[in-house]
Amino acid sequence: MADLVSHPDEIKVVSKRFGQGAADIDRYLALDGYKAAQKALPMTPDAIINEVKTSGLRGRGGAGFPTGMKWSFVPKDSPKQKYILCNGDESEPGTCKDRLILEHDPHSVIEGVMIAGLAVNAESGYIYIRGEYRYLSIIMQKAIKDAYARGFLGKNIFGSGKKFDVYWHGGAGAYEVGEESALMESLEGKRGIPRIKPPFPAVVGLWGSPTVINNVETLASAPHIILDGAQKFADYGTPKNGGVRLFCLSGHVNKPGVYELPLGYSLKKMIYEVGGGIPGGKKIKAVVPGGSSTPVLTADEIDIAMDFDGVAKAGSMLGSGGVVVIDESTCMVRFAQYIMKFYQHESCGWCIPCREGTDWLKKTLDRFHAGGGVKKDINNIQYLAENMMGRTFCPLGDAAAMPTISIVTKFRKEFEDHLEGRPCPYDPVGSVRLLPVLSH
């Protein structure tokens, strides 16, 4: 449904079957589908994990945790059932890549889940798809059904005598449910409240059993790693940042879209060459490098390599691959306001700092942008956000605080320009409005 784009700098690995009708199982098979799973079948779990470790694959869901290491945390001697849980809740603002994978290449996700299953001796996997993506869950249900019909899933996969089941699961609207422990709660039919950690899901996960949770893109990368070799994948990227990943370019760029680029690709290049620059030839004011929860970079800070370490060095995070470009005409107070509207709406409400903090920040930013700000508000906004940092029950609180702190420190002048009686000087077109408290 969504338009596909392409650019010569792209290295199409996960996206290689996009636009080729691979949702159809025969088409998928013709495009080397399910070969990786069959290759992995006779391999030992350790061998699979080692391949993934060698590939340098790090989680594409946001935290960037090394995937092979995550798989190796599952206790080998546990007599309990083990589960693979594919995180297709994709809700981080700025991120729209898992959607394309699920739409264009659903079997690669199933195959990735199987490979993870083989790596940790699990016999079932769940693919959790956010409720808004109804059309994708229909596609996925068909793909699963087709795979069962071919004997790729079920009691005797590929005639190997091994058992593996894959099920789909649907959400119903909640960003927080993308957090891994809240995801499990949701799958178990509960409110999406995160769990106390430790224990970590690899030890106590779904229904109390060891569970591997990975992002859609992470799992969809696995078949390519197994089939084409770990080293090849690793070599695309930079040291400790193996491979390629899908970057979702959005905001003020001429050619927004999802591009698969090697890790370490220059952010500046990504915006100006891949994305075709800024509409109207305007200047960049800021860039969100990895989804709304990452600290924004100023125009001076974008000459960096887009890998986990490169972005971290610039004081932000690679996150989920959502690159949002903000041009010079944008009001950063308003931008902060809209970010906070989101987190205020999505906070699960469990812990005090996130529940109350996002609410106060939203209210304050609303008033502030509308021209009702007083001087102490600026420090207050920073104080509030800093006091949420690192103290919430789950990382959502940090996700709300980090961009806020970066905006209020890096664009303090814009806040000062809004002070008392001076509504937004940056957005002349009547966009000053108090955001509704979106009721649930």
Binding site: S186, Y338, H345
Partner: protein, 158 residues
């Protein structure tokens, strides 16, 4: 209360997917809502009984998820995304336009029960912003004109 045969089939099948009954709850609620239009008291009682949960428990879950509702809404629910990527590309004007067009505000429904409008958070269409969903259908790269054309299409169906 009775649901459609498709619902029943899916429900029965989903129950076999999990080691615990209540695991089917969230998707089941959404499917029930699709049939009834909202989660009526009747539907809640029914689902609670089937899954051996208290109604309170089911309501706790319903009220957590933003797509689930216990209040009737329009046949077509127009959901305009006003998250950052969409806002940068004019989603607030679009939302303004949408409100004016229907003469409604956030979460209100037209008197004939055909349309309701809703301001929603990121729907995963950032690279094709601004975007909206009408029920489950995505509409992307919107302009006011495109918006009007799309809505006219729904109006004809209504």
């Amino acid at each position: 209360m009775t649901f459609s045969p498709e619902f029943e089939q899916r429900f029965t099948e989903m129950l076999t997917h999990y080691p615990s009954k209540r695991s089917v709850l969230v998707p089941t609620l959404l499917y029930a809502q699709d049939e009834v239009g909202y989660l009526s008291d009747e539907a809640i009682t029914e689902i609670a009984q089937r899954l051996q949960l208290t109604e309170l428990d089911v309501r706790n879950v319903i009220s957590y998820y933003s797509m689930l509702t216990t209040k009737p809404r329009g046949k077509y629910n127009v959901q305009v995304c006003t998250n950052i990527a969409c806002i940068l590309r004019g989603a607030d004007d679009l939302w303004e336009h949408c409100q004016k067009k229907f003469g409604l505000r956030h979460k209100q429904t037209t008197p004939d029960g055909q349309f309701s409008i809703e301001e929603v958070e990121c729907i995963g269409a950032c690279s094709w912003a601004p975007a909206m969903q009408v029920n489950y259908d995505f509409h992307e790269n919107l302009t006011k004109d495109k918006f009007d054309t799309i809505l006219d299409g729904y109006k004809k169906k209504a």
